[in-house]
Symmetry: C2
Amino acid sequence: MKFTLSHTDQASKARAGILETDHGTIQTPCFMPVGTLATVKSLTPRDVWETGARICLANAYHLYLRPGTQIVREAGGVHRFSKWDGAVLTDSGGYQVYSLAGLRKVTDESVTFKSHLDGSRHQFTAEKVIEIERDLGPDIMMVLDECPPSNADRTVVKSAVDRTISWAQRSVEHFHKTKPLHGYDQQLFLIVQGGIYPDLRTECAAELVKLDTFGYAIGGLAVGEPNATMYEVTDHTTDALPTHKPRYLMGVGTPVDLLECIARGVDMFDCVLPTRNARNAQLFTRDGKLNFRNSKWKTDFSPIDEETNSYASQNFSKAYLSHLVNSKEMLGAVLATMHNITFYEQLVTEARARILDGSFVKWKNAFIARYNTVK
Amino acid sequence: MKFTLSHTDQASKARAGILETDHGTIQTPCFMPVGTLATVKSLTPRDVWETGARICLANAYHLYLRPGTQIVREAGGVHRFSKWDGAVLTDSGGYQVYSLAGLRKVTDESVTFKSHLDGSRHQFTAEKVIEIERDLGPDIMMVLDECPPSNADRTVVKSAVDRTISWAQRSVEHFHKTKPLHGYDQQLFLIVQGGIYPDLRTECAAELVKLDTFGYAIGGLAVGEPNATMYEVTDHTTDALPTHKPRYLMGVGTPVDLLECIARGVDMFDCVLPTRNARNAQLFTRDGKLNFRNSKWKTDFSPIDEETNSYASQNFSKAYLSHLVNSKEMLGAVLATMHNITFYEQLVTEARARILDGSFVKWKNAFIARYNTVK
């Protein structure tokens, strides 16, 4: 795997890069659709490919519980299991353990939790998560971290940082002791925690950078803190990360968040918004979000979105989508998901072109102004 | 519109024909996927096209209630509304009025019913249904009929036959008084009722044949009567219909039903089985139905069905489909629907080839023997 920085913007910290994996080349900044259970909800892999996405997320915690790590391993890894030809990144499930699982108990050694599905008891260690991700076979493996809630006080965040650093050290050690199982390269990303405390972010980043892994993620943001704070912490944290390595901001965000954080030096994003909102009939456009439960679309025969170049956006009318949504037809979710992911992919693709031609900041500000204009 | 009989089997009543419409040519025998609300549930129109289907069903009753006839008319008809490039047949909704609607009241003049959605009161007459179908713009319009339950006694069935004949006469008259609204040809099919009573079927068919419409349907079957009875009544009724006109057996059936009724002279079929069963994780194969809720598929990494030539059947493993189904992922329904419709389409396509080469009955019997073998 190889990450090459093609260009850094003069007027911002925005970067255009190229991430080469054994499952294809990804141009950064990139947006990774979320496919928690090895499926981007409602879309076939060929439809996901058509959105322009070349790397998807899956979730180690979820796949470990269902269908079980062993089944994905026997299938030849998550790509072959799900027939996705692009690259895959698996989140460790640290976040899910804290947000979904019941009765979890965290010690310096491990986190014990009850499955959100059947209440069965499980234990994750830093090493165990590496093993799971070797079995699952993503191109990029995320380490187990501790992700405190946004309202956690400094003492709690400091303790999470210490544990995240210690687990990162153990993860890297175990990563080097183990090998890919499916015949292609896997690389490890560490996760910077530290909440909204700049000094804790700096400390965490400094310790993780010493471990010299392929890439770095910024975790524990977009968990309830104000947007301005999220941007500040992101800005601060990217300064503490190596220039020549990819940076991934986990779980972010809206189209505006993506552009603001690209401007602050982030290369990779994932978020459930385009997929989850699609299933709630909310579509992203350059004019902001459209809610297709609103009856005003019932007789609008114009295309869903002429500015987004997808089968769904160009071929079907707002009236038809409104009909599907109001009738609770699955095709409504399918078309909305196709549209939303394509919108996100075309957004980062255009951002990259604007970084390369030097017009990124001007373009970003115009995009945001139009997006936020009340219609 | 034009129907040409290409060949009739020597060893059975099976026919191979060609139905030419302004939305393309359909080879018969054909299977029409059900797209009640102008969407074949879970599939995009391009995915429906890929199954081999060239004509789909929609339902006048359902579309009249939601999104409303006027909206489909303004969209330019059901094809443009749903972006389906093939042909469309709309069922009148007679069956739905009897099976879904509440508090219906049938007189010789009309049927009054309450919407299954909001309880609002509506009235359908033979003429009103023609008007609705002119608005909706299918290639083939079905008349309003009266469809008695399978356990109805002879007096009730006789009265339904009389009303069906009278409504057919009024429908034909109104059909000729009105014109297509969307710039392409529309033709009318009448529906033979008569329950399980051969003489009532004969009487009904004879009266309808006098009206000389483009095609004829056999209604009121597969509503609970034994399979053998359904085959007998079908066999009897096709004898009472003109040779040179298309015959459509409504709401039938399983793969075996299709072959048995093709052998009895039927040209066109529709049924919810491939789509509805797909959403319940049941897949049709040459070895019978497979239930993907069964845990035995969890570790079967062979393709869903090597004998069905579809993206879904060939590319994804049984283990992956099992995972999707067990996780209640929408993609499970999508892949199963693609597979099932393709299976049906390839079944009728092969039936046609076997009719043309003279091996239909032998092939049908072998297909059924294998399909019914307990594994």
